[in-house]
Symmetry: C2
Subunit: 594 residues, 2 copies
């Protein structure tokens, strides 16, 4: 070993020990008679101190010439520090060097290796190996490691077996887009990378594995958004002989274990909310319940006056922002601008201030008198000092817009603290949704029912009859875990009967032949004694970012891709040799527009 201690471990009790350390030069301060080197490694920072009058001149000269990020080995003796600091754990000691060896020099990094770096996003992605030197980024990945270890510990204790499922599988173009892999040995044929190990984990249940999990890479060829990556990691789980309640209990247990073991936080038992209530009270299937501010529907209260906007609206709905009656005109204008942004799309915002003196003033006083407005306040159960914010329009769009406004108000009122965690389940999702032309699906799939969760999700037994008459009304035994308004995990009880599975594929627009070709192996497996089973998957990247108090999963992935799906550090994807294309029996199309 080129060292016998790390840069994070020496304490007062180590004084007079002869030690050898290795690390990176964080910085050199030269005060003439004193030279300090801050030596950094993963474990901490240790100060090397040279009193130039006491040490050989050559050694001191060498120390002064060390550049930022040089890799050095220092042999010396541990001494008590003159001016101690408790800012770093080794702040009680320093090293009096006897020898300094430069293991590798370094040119000047393109940005500073500090928490508060001067490097922009693009530069840091290109030099990701330097960005990863920053303590902040490394701590994120240490957190990820710890979460993975604790996840495995918990599931292992619960008798789950980690089973690796294949990465080279088969394309199922009826879901989101697959990444595919041309086969050299089978010309014209392709493997696909898994969007999830769904069918394999169900087969493991048919095999009697009883409890399965895997921390597993999954792949989805989507048009990327800021918080999506083409490859992502799931905590993927499945259990046999269970009902929905058992799954909820088991994985609520996992998340509570993670909060306790990794963050020392006790999370109470998770509350549950139906999908219907989530949409009704929060306009959102993943409501942030760190704060209340539920939707209040106002059609009965506001219609019938001369205000055309409300009279013509399918839905008038609002929220009550506690204690915000003092909002200035400027603040209210900002909120109006916020809801009118194209991505939110409301046409306007109506507000009413319930002043602390008991009066109510609204932006529509022309149409509503004080008595009318009192009725509004009653509907909201508002108190003096509250601010009512109201949107009107087509139902679905208005709920969605109000949901955004609610979250914005939560931010403005400081109700969304990153160190507060509100976890709950959303249950009773619809089984199906109509695909109007989802850009993440092949164009040929538009105008068909699409499985809201996936085609293997079981309808609620009491709703099965509706499959024939009103598929959109069928509820699924499906559930999402939501933490702070983020969907952290989701799953379902699965279909385990061949006939019901066949019926499901029929509703999704598969011909019998297509269903057999794509998923015959699974439907056949159901004939050989399939147990009742269900499971779920957590988005591990997102779980890490939530635990780390960040909105971006990219900060918790060692080598992420950018929004165009590129790894700018290694410059991938890239062209390949003609010899490779020839061996794989494929050509690149000359015209991209084709």
């Amino acid at each position: 070993m080129l060292r016998n201690v790390t840069c994070g471990e020496l304490r007062i009790s180590d004084i007079n020990k002869d030690v050898t350390l290795c690390g990176w030069v964080q910085g050199v301060r030269d005060k003439g008679s004193l030279v300090w080197i801050d030596l950094r490694d993963r474990y901490g920072i240790t100060q090397i101190t040279l009193e130039t009058e006491k040490l050989p001149a050559a050694l001191c000269e060498q120390a002064k010439k060390l550049g930022r990020e040089f890799v050095i080995q220092v042999k010396g003796k541990v001494a008590e520090r003159y001016s101690k600091t408790d800012k770093i754990e080794t702040g009680g000691i320093e090293i009096i060097p006897a020898e300094i060896k430069v293991l590798n020099e370094a040119i000047t990094p393109p940005f500073t290796i500090e928490d508060d770096t001067d490097g922009g996003d693009e530069l840091r992605m290109k030099y990701r190996y330097l960005d990863l030197r920053r303590t902040l980024v490394r701590k994120n990945l240490e957190l990820r490691h710890r979460l993975a270890i604790e996840t495995r510990n918990y599931l292992d204790k619960q008798n789950f077996l980690e089973v690796e499922t294949p990465v080279l599988i088969k394309s199922t173009p009826e879901g989101a887009r697959d990444f595919v892999v041309p086969s050299r040995m089978h010309a014209g044929q392709f493997y696909a990378l898994p969007q999830s190990p769904q069918t394999f984990k169900q087969l493991l249940m048919v095999s009697g594995f009883d409890r399965y999990y895997q921390l597993v890479k999954c792949f989805r060829d989507e048009d990327l958004r800021a918080d999506r990556q083409p490859e992502f990691t799931q905590i993927d789980c499945e259990m046999s002989f269970v009902e929905q309640e058992d799954i909820l209990q088991t994985f609520e247990g996992l998340v509570r274990h993670l909060f306790k073991s990794v963050k020392g936080i006790d999370i109470p038992a998770l509350s549950r909310m139906t999908y219907g209530d989530a949409m009704k009270y929060y306009g959102n299937d993943k409501p942030d319940i760190r704060f209340e501010m539920k939707f209040v529907e106002l059609n009965d209260v506001v219609k019938g006056k001369d205000f055309k906007v409300f009279n013509d609206a399918e839905l008038v709905v609002g929220i009550c922002a506690k204690g915000a009656a003092e909002y200035t005109r400027k603040q209210l204008d900002e909120l109006t601008d916020f809801v009118k942004r194209p991505q939110i799309g409301a046409t306007g915002l109506v507000y009413a201030r319930y002043n602390t003196d008991g009066t109510i003033k609204s932006s529509v006083d022309k149409f509503y008198n004080e008595e009318d407005l009192k009725k509004w306040a009653t509907a909201f159960n508002a108190q003096p000092g509250d601010l009512l914010l109201i949107l009107a329009g087509a139902e679905e769009k208005t709920r969605k817009a109000l949901s955004e406004l609610r979250l914005e108000m939560g931010n403005r009122l400081g109700l969304r603290d990153k160190n507060t965690f509100a976890c709950h389940w959303v249950i009773d999702f619809p089984l199906l949704e109509w695909n109007d032309g989802d850009p993440n699906l092949l164009a040929s799939l538009a105008g068909r029912w699409h499985a809201k969760h996936h085609p293997f999700t079981s309808p609620k037994p009491e709703d099965i009859e509706l499959l024939k008459t009103n598929p959109g009304a069928v509820r699924a035994n499906a559930y999402d875990m939501v933490i702070n308004g983020v969907e952290i995990g989701g799953g379902s009880i699965r279909i385990f009967s061949k006939d019901l599975q066949a019926q499901m594929f029929d509703i999704l627009g598969f011909t019998k032949e297509e269903a057999q070709k794509q998923f015959g192996f699974l439907m056949n497996a159901f004939e050989y004694g399939a147990p009742p089973h269900g499971g779920l998957a957590f988005g591990f990247d997102r779980l890490c970012s939530l635990f780390g108090g960040s909105d971006s999963i990219r900060d918790f992935i060692a080598f992420p891709k950018n929004n165009a799906g590129r790894d700018v550090m290694i410059d991938s994807p890239s062209e390949i040799h003609d010899e490779q294309l020839r061996e794989l029996s494929i050509d690149v199309r000359k015209s991209v527009s084709g």
Copy 2:
């Protein structure tokens, strides 16, 4: 939960408890007045017993009609068993059922779900989900799970961080063949799947991660052999500020921990052997040292008589099979046939029996008298009762053939017990080997030096000068861990200087531009303060099969591919939709021969 106990947990102490079990019907025995059901799940087998005179007729009728592999739920009471058995852990009890519910029926499986199944390989692969029901196969995957958990426990305690590296990376056609993934968003460009996370783990060292590991899927588009899979799992590790000795100690510790914690076996400290000695004494860079039987070179002893075969041979070399002098003519003929098989390729086998009466008889008595043969015996240090087996010919080929014969003799003499484990290191590998036209490399790479380990392996400092004059003689700081003649892991100390890395690429026939295009990110990283580092990777599938006492890694992979790289269960690879090809900007070539 559909059960409150599993089929493996009830004991005498549970008598009179009311229980609910779920599982698969292993079998039903109907003796008229008594009907027994063996109910199976992952945890064991529990017997359900029906005394037909004491229980409702309908229940008994239902029990008799249950088919093999039906999934049922049984409610009943635990009773003491009349005729106890200690063959199964629940052998002291049985269940008197009150209710049996069929959760799912099963058609007759295509083979029996028993350790000793009647299903052939192909059938079992097609119905892998049924094959996985067999206790034998499930135990293999349970072993794999346990090994993964213990690997992580050990490395976590040693301060290693598990970091996930990307799966969608960049093609480096200078190694073995890559699997590639066409990019939809970047027409004409491709990602590649990693053959190993080599460059990423080195970048993590440049980042100061200090100790990295990952259990990670890797991919290699090779022509497959029985023990190869296109996707395989590695325990991938890297450490900073270490020398070769530190790596050997650390990972010898891992393997000893695994043997101890998973199999309860104490493995002694690992011995070391140079590559040169391995080739000289065993004709093999991964010698099985469960038994001695070292090669003895005989050129000095046997040449100069009238036996042309020996006189003309570049090398005459043999082994001494202890106690095998009594081998019959038939057995010796079998050995001759063995070495003459095309894949071994010897032209013949010379033997000499050192009989227990002290006489020596050889297959070449025409040319060598008793006195000559005594000299042979002396060279081998043979004792009366031993059999000498000798091959002659071109050096490399002859060593290789004798290595095969040695292993065959080890098998025949019972010296290769699967429950005995001999672990050791092979060190000082050559840095380079000449590529005469390796079928696993692109044809255009033939006639060049090829990195024996990989291009990032460091030459021994004392051999660096030879890089210019005699590259083939340069030894690397590279090492393999060998257990029972299987290469279980291998690694090296890495180059960490940009100049040396550039020199290495030059020797491997890269132009400066190619090297920069493929590996510029790594060489640039070396300029920003790269620490000395090294690491290794274990073949996890192979480690599992070794621990499980099997020669085939396929038995330890849940859903393996066959020798043609196909998953016959899901029928993959397969054709994809034209719409997919169009979106990916690729065409399938009409003529495969192109």
